[in-house]
């Protein structure tokens, strides 16, 4: 499973192309950092007040004042900048974030995202998620394909309180890469070792399959 997760993270990292400003959400998305090619000319933003995130550091080398939004210790790069929370979210709401990668409890076939509240059970809060989901130029989700009980996270409609409506463009899971298109969920790639039938079965809404061969990751 860990190698499947590494492949998922590495595949998601390929979504980051030169020139982008990118925000990685708490959870699986922040783990993409380790898979971003070192030489790429891109800028990672973290909403707690930094642009130009460098490699993550182990506790023994960490600066106690330098974390990402998930609390992981990170480093600077030549050209990094620190700023306050007001400035950080001005960047978000002004459309300066080209791509954000977020976690999900549920994603709907129309691109609705729910990731902050399971009423009465687990409600971590939205943090910066609502603004990122609503205002980043491109929103992708990185998530397991199903929840811990095996229920699909990709559904025909969200049942949980929304983070933002119609925001998700693409979903990276341990089973597949799925786009949200005009017809709903559209299969883009399959994870190595996963069958089409298996992925369709684990998806809670129709999964449209292209008529050309499907790549694997």
């Amino acid at each position: 499973m860990s190698s499947a997760r590494d492949r998922l993270l590495a595949r998601a990292a390929r979504e980051i192309v030169p020139g982008m400003v990118v925000n990685l959400g708490i959870g699986l998305p922040t783990q993409v950092l380790a898979h971003v090619p070192a030489g790429i000319a891109a800028c990672l933003h973290t909403e707690n007040g930094m642009a130009g995130i460098g490699p993550a550091l182990p506790p023994s080398q960490a600066d106690r004042n330098l974390i990402d939004a998930g609390g992981a210790y990170v480093s600077t790069l030549p050209g990094s900048a620190f700023f306050d929370s007001v400035t950080s979210f001005a960047m978000v709401r002004a459309g300066r974030i080209d791509l954000t990668m977020l976690g999900a409890f549920e994603v709907a076939a129309n691109g609705d995202l729910a990731n902050w509240k399971i009423p009465g059970k687990f409600s971590p809060g939205m943090g910066g998620g609502i603004e990122l989901a609503q205002k980043a130029r491109r929103v992708v989700v990185i998530s397991t394909h199903t929840d811990r009980a095996g229920n699909p996270k990709l559904k025909s409609a969200c049942t949980l309180p929304l983070t933002a409506a119609g925001c998700v463009a693409r979903i990276f899971t341990d089973m597949a890469v799925v786009d949200v298109g005009p017809r709903g969920f559209e299969l883009v790639e399959l994870a190595e070792g996963r069958s089409l039938a298996e992925v369709a079965d684990a998806t809670g809404a129709p999964l449209h399959v292209p008529d050309h061969p499907i790549a694997t990751f």
């Binding site: 708490i26 973290t46 909403e47 707690n48 007040g49 930094m50 506790p59 960490a62 600066d63 106690r64 004042n65 330098l66 974390i67 939004a69 609390g71 210790y73 620190f82 700023f83 306050d84 929370s85 007001v86 950080s88 979210f89 001005a90 978000v92 709401r93 902050w116 509240k117 009465g120 059970k121 687990f122 409600s123 971590p124 809060g125 939205m126 943090g127 910066g128 998620g129 609502i130 603004e131 609503q134 205002k135 309180p161 929304l162 983070t163 933002a164 409506a165």
Partner: protein, 230 residues
């Protein structure tokens, strides 16, 4: 002329906090959280507090001490995901939690600090954040009226301060500290380093001392400020 000195002993700096007060607390995770002032507020004992803080820290750290001591009635925040204690208190109805989108929390505080009654934003339209809020049409699109937030006291953490209260922050410890410094009747800052007037170059000041009432130099940094081993 000489700028006034605001260095204050810790106990005196927080002595004015009373039951039912609204308290803003800086920090995002460990960086920028005034751990020592929080312990002083626990010892001080004021109850029924409304606390405004980005996050609830982690179990046994920072604002969690105030939650566990039962001094907080209401928490205005954005994220509790790293503190299972806080989520349990919320689910049990022992603290009332108001979630805000993070940048909107910052703007509500900024409005309070800048003497503006509210800000209008489309953030949260189509979500639960609409509940209880006035909706205004602007350029034909719905916007939520996000009312300003002010506090009786702000508790902040600086890397460096002079006696007048000019402040600088380190790295990601800046976060909500500068904006909260603008939005409270009384602003109390703990600082890792206290320097003489003039030692912070005017161009390097992050928060001007005009906003600050009390500067509390820290004698030691407890292990709560240290790198968290996970």
């Amino acid at each position: 002329m000489k700028l006034p000195d605001k260095t204050t002993p810790m106990a005196q700096a927080i002595a004015t906090i009373k039951d039912g007060d609204t308290v803003m607390i800086g920090g995002f995770g460990v960086p920028g959280t005034p751990m020592t002032l929080i312990h002083a507020l626990v010892a001080h004992g004021a109850r029924g507090l409304t606390v405004i803080k980005n996050d609830a820290n982690e179990p046994g750290m920072g604002v969690d001490h105030l939650l566990q001591s039962g001094q907080v009635r209401r928490l205005i925040t954005t994220h509790l995901g790293l503190n299972a204690n806080a989520m349990a208190l919320m689910n049990a109805g022992q603290i009332e939690v108001e979630f805000n989108a993070q940048g909107i929390l910052a703007e509500r505080i900024r409005a309070g600090g800048a003497g503006i009654g509210a800000v209008l934003s489309d953030v949260g339209i189509g979500t639960e954040l609409e509940h209880g809020k006035q909706v205004v049409q602007l350029d034909g699109r719905p916007h939520l009226v996000q009312t300003a937030l002010r506090a009786d006291v702000a508790l902040l953490h600086a890397d460096c301060a002079d006696g007048f209260g000019n402040l600088t922050y380190r790295a990601t410890a800046r976060n909500f500290n500068p904006v909260m410094a603008m939005a409270a009747q009384r602003v109390v800052v703990e600082t890792e380093t206290l320097v003489a007037l003039g030692q912070i170059a005017p161009d390097a000041v992050h928060t001007p001392g005009v906003f600050v009432d009390c500067v509390v130099p820290l004698e030691t940094l407890t292990k709560e400020y240290a790198v968290v081993e996970r």
